[in-house]
């Protein structure tokens, strides 16, 4: 039997990996994928906790997180496409017009 802590640890590792990815990658799409990784690690926590507690709420939450992820993907990718059209790049180093 795998304990709840092991799932939570795994989720923590994935979450941290995602965070590192957001911090060190330059490509906006990859950053977005890293955020997706973070969301998924949270999903794993939710479902593990839901199983552990014997309640359905956590799994329902995951259901909604997936919907949110889909919506964010649609809007985020659209934003990246428009940005790409104007700047020919989606490197975050180029998202630097507004500063100071």
């Amino acid at each position: 039997m795998v304990s709840i802590h092991e799932y939570l640890m795994l989720s923590a590792i994935l979450f941290s990996l995602g965070t590192v990815g957001v911090l060190i990658r330059r490509n906006a799409i990859v950053i977005f994928m890293c955020i997706e990784l973070m969301l998924n690690s949270v999903n794993l926590s939710f479902i593990a906790l839901s199983h552990h507690l014997g309640s359905m709420d956590g799994q329902i939450f995951v259901f909604f997180v997936m919907a949110v992820a889909a919506a964010e993907a649609a809007v985020g990718l659209a934003l990246m496409i428009t940005f790409y059209r104007n700047r020919e790049s989606i490197e975050v180093d180029d998202i630097n017009m507004l500063k100071w």
Binding site: V22, L23, R25, I31, N96, K99, W100
Partner: protein
């Protein structure tokens, strides 16, 4: 009967709104001026009515409140839009509306033909409205509304000639310095509210007066609270170290200087201390600070006044100095004397400012006609104007005599009372008296220097310009005459008992204010002989000041210049033996003048301005440094966010 108190501030507000909204359409200067002047005059009328029907005249409560609406309620604290009529506010009302209406009338003539005439009157009415809110407010927050309002109007009016950079800088400086003071006011108010025991917490002035005894007398709490309030007062009333804005404020039109920066707004700090007298009376340490700051400001500003050549700047430093006197009075517990000096000062200083305005007006016109680019405000360009402008000069003379403390004029009574208390009140000390008397002598000197340089001696204007110099129109001279009359006789309201016994007059001013200051007023102890002699000495010092001025600027006008030259070569001084007495006088005076210049250029400009600007620069520099954090790069932002999360979570979880 007292439920119409709100009419007093209402009229000027109405005037401001009418002129502000419709002024551009009305265009006719006379109509605009009339609306504004009548609005203030109406307030004056109502104030007079209430003055003659004071509450408690036939016994009973000595104050009346008129609550218009509830403003805010915070827990058990109810704050109202309420007005308070008591002897103190009644006197201030008369001063503000009375002097205010005269200055409005004067402004019609003075501002003739200026661009934005309606705007000027709208601001001026708005100022009177704010000042009346300040004076009439029955609680500290309504007072604060007025407090901020006068600051705003002062800001707008100083910067009236906005195309001059110096004017806009001065306006900004005034506003910023005032806000430092406001900060003190607010903190003081919060602390006061917070330190009163639950159940008696209030910011209503009458309730504060009743509950003040619940604080520990002389304790640290009440000292800190009153010091905070005093900080507020120093900002508004231009005391050390927050005084520098006032001389700069002379960039505004002259009637504004007369109304705001001499007669009314700058006295708000004095009024506020008078309002909170039960608190201040409980904090002897604060009172000492107030007295010392007041005395220091009085002598300090007087010294700087010696070195000024701009006619309005002399008056500005003189105002700072006179305000110092008022604080000195407050600090030694002579509240009545302080308010009395506030009133007489309003008369003669307003008259002086308006007189200088009349001179500047005439000079400006004349120089303009003569196509000269000389500075119309520089006294070195004037001289011998007495014949050209007799009414202005006469009124100016009277007011100058009053401010110099010439016996039996208004300034004499009020200044003398302050000096007597400075010496003989329990909180007073001979040292304070010496400083005060010296400042009085300096005042006499530089004021007469001003009069002599302006109205007497050789005319320094060109022949061409001289032809165009003439007396100002009646709208300008009438207020001058009225104010001069008040400066002449206003002092008799508060005759000290010493003289009152001889002429058979009571000190009606003190009697009138008795209900407000009765419990807290300090009592001066001393023999009649001592009082007579002190009075004699201070008058004597003033006469010395006048005499020296006369010697230097009338009898021997070349002397100062000559001296300046002769000081360079010491041997020439010895050579001209027969001038030795005068030289002695003059070198002494010259040294003092140099001190004045040094203080002005050194302390005033470098230190005080440096500190004020230093804060600004520090903020600016840190802003500049901080903004590089905002690199515009998403991963940096994300890094900061994660750093925040790690620090926050780390702190709480690992703790």
């Amino acid at each position: 009967m007292y439920d119409k108190l709100w009419l007093i501030p209402f009229f000027p507000l109405l005037g401001a709104v009418i002129n502000g909204l419709l002024g551009k359409k009305i265009k006719n200067e006379k109509v605009i001026g009339a609306i504004a002047t009548l609005a203030v005059a109406a307030s004056f009328g109502v104030s007079c009515y209430y003055f003659f029907n004071m509450p408690g005249a036939n016994g009973g409560q000595h104050y009346a409140e008129n609550i218009v609406a509830t403003w805010m309620s915070v827990g058990d604290l109810q704050i109202e839009w309420g007005f308070l009529l008591d002897p103190l506010s009644a006197i201030m009302l008369l001063v503000v509306t009375g002097v205010g209406s005269l200055i409005h009338l004067y402004s019609i003539g003075y501002m003739h033909g200026e661009e934005g005439f309606y705007r000027y009157f709208s601001y001026l009415n708005l100022f009177v409205f704010s000042m009346l809110m300040l004076v009439l407010g029955n609680n500290a927050l309504v007072m604060f509304v007025g407090w901020e309002g006068v600051g705003l109007c002062s800001y707008l009016l100083i910067g009236y000639y906005f195309h001059k950079k110096s004017a806009s800088d001065a306006a900004k400086k005034a506003f910023v310095v005032n806000r430092i003071g406001d900060f003190g006011f607010l903190i003081g108010l919060f602390l006061l509210y917070w330190s009163l025991p639950v159940g008696s917490r209030s910011i209503n002035f009458m309730e504060i007066a009743q509950n003040a005894h619940l604080l520990e007398a002389g304790g640290i709490v009440v000292t800190v609270i009153t010091l905070c309030f005093f900080l507020g007062a120093t900002g508004k009333s231009a005391q050390i170290p927050l005084y520098t804005w006032l001389p700069d404020a002379m960039e505004g039109p002259t009637p504004v200087s007369a109304l705001i920066h001499a007669a009314t707004m700058v006295t708000a700090g004095v009024y506020m201390i008078g309002r909170l007298n039960p608190l201040f009376a409980m904090a002897p340490d604060t009172m000492m600070v107030v007295a010392i700051v007041g005395a220091a400001t009085a002598i300090f500003a007087a010294t700087i006044g010696l070195a000024q050549n701009d006619i309005k700047r002399v008056l500005a430093y003189s105002t700072v100095s006179q305000l110092g006197y008022m604080f000195l009075a407050m600090g030694v517990g002579a509240f009545t004397a302080g308010i009395f000096h506030l009133m007489t000062h309003a008369f003669f200083k307003a008259c002086l400012f308006l007189g200088s305005g009349s001179v500047i007006h005439a000079m400006h016109h004349a120089l303009h006609e003569a196509h000269s680019h000389d500075d119309p405000q520089d006294m070195r360009n004037m001289g011998g104007l007495f014949r050209k402008m007799p009414i202005t000069a006469t009124t100016f003379w009277i007011s100058t005599l009053a401010i110099a403390g010439f016996p039996l004029l208004s300034g004499f009574f009020s200044k003398d009372e302050i000096l007597w208390f400075a010496f003989a009140s329990p909180q007073g000390s001979p040292l304070l008296w010496i400083v005060g008397a010296l400042a009085a002598g300096l005042t006499a000197f530089y004021m007469f220097r001003l009069v002599f340089m302006t109205f007497h001696g050789k005319q320094k204007t060109t022949e061409k310009a001289r032809k165009h110099l003439h007396e100002s129109p009646w709208v300008i001279t009438v207020p001058l005459v009225v104010l001069a009359l008040l400066a002449l006789v206003g002092g008799w309201l508060g005759v000290p008992p010493l003289i009152g016994e001889i002429v058979g007059m009571a000190n009606s001013f003190e009697h009138f204010l008795e209900p407000v200051f009765g419990g807290t007023q300090a009592v001066a102890h001393g023999t009649h002989a001592l009082e007579w002699s002190l009075m004699g000495i201070s008058v004597g010092i003033a006469f010395v000041g006048i005499f020296v001025a006369w010697v230097m600027y009338i009898k021997n006008p070349e002397l100062p210049g000559k001296l300046a030259g002769s000081l360079q070569g010491a041997y020439r001084v010895i050579h001209n033996k027969w001038y030795v007495d005068e030289i002695y006088d003059a070198t002494f005076v010259d040294a003092t003048k140099r001190l004045g210049t040094f203080l002005w250029k050194g302390f005033d400009v470098v230190v005080v301005d440096g500190i004020v600007n230093g804060f600004g620069k520090t903020a600016h520099a840190s802003s500049r440094a901080l903004r590089f954090l905002q690199s515009g790069l998403v991963h940096n932002y994300a890094l900061v966010m994660v750093l925040g999360v790690v620090v926050i979570v780390g702190f709480y979880v690992l703790r």
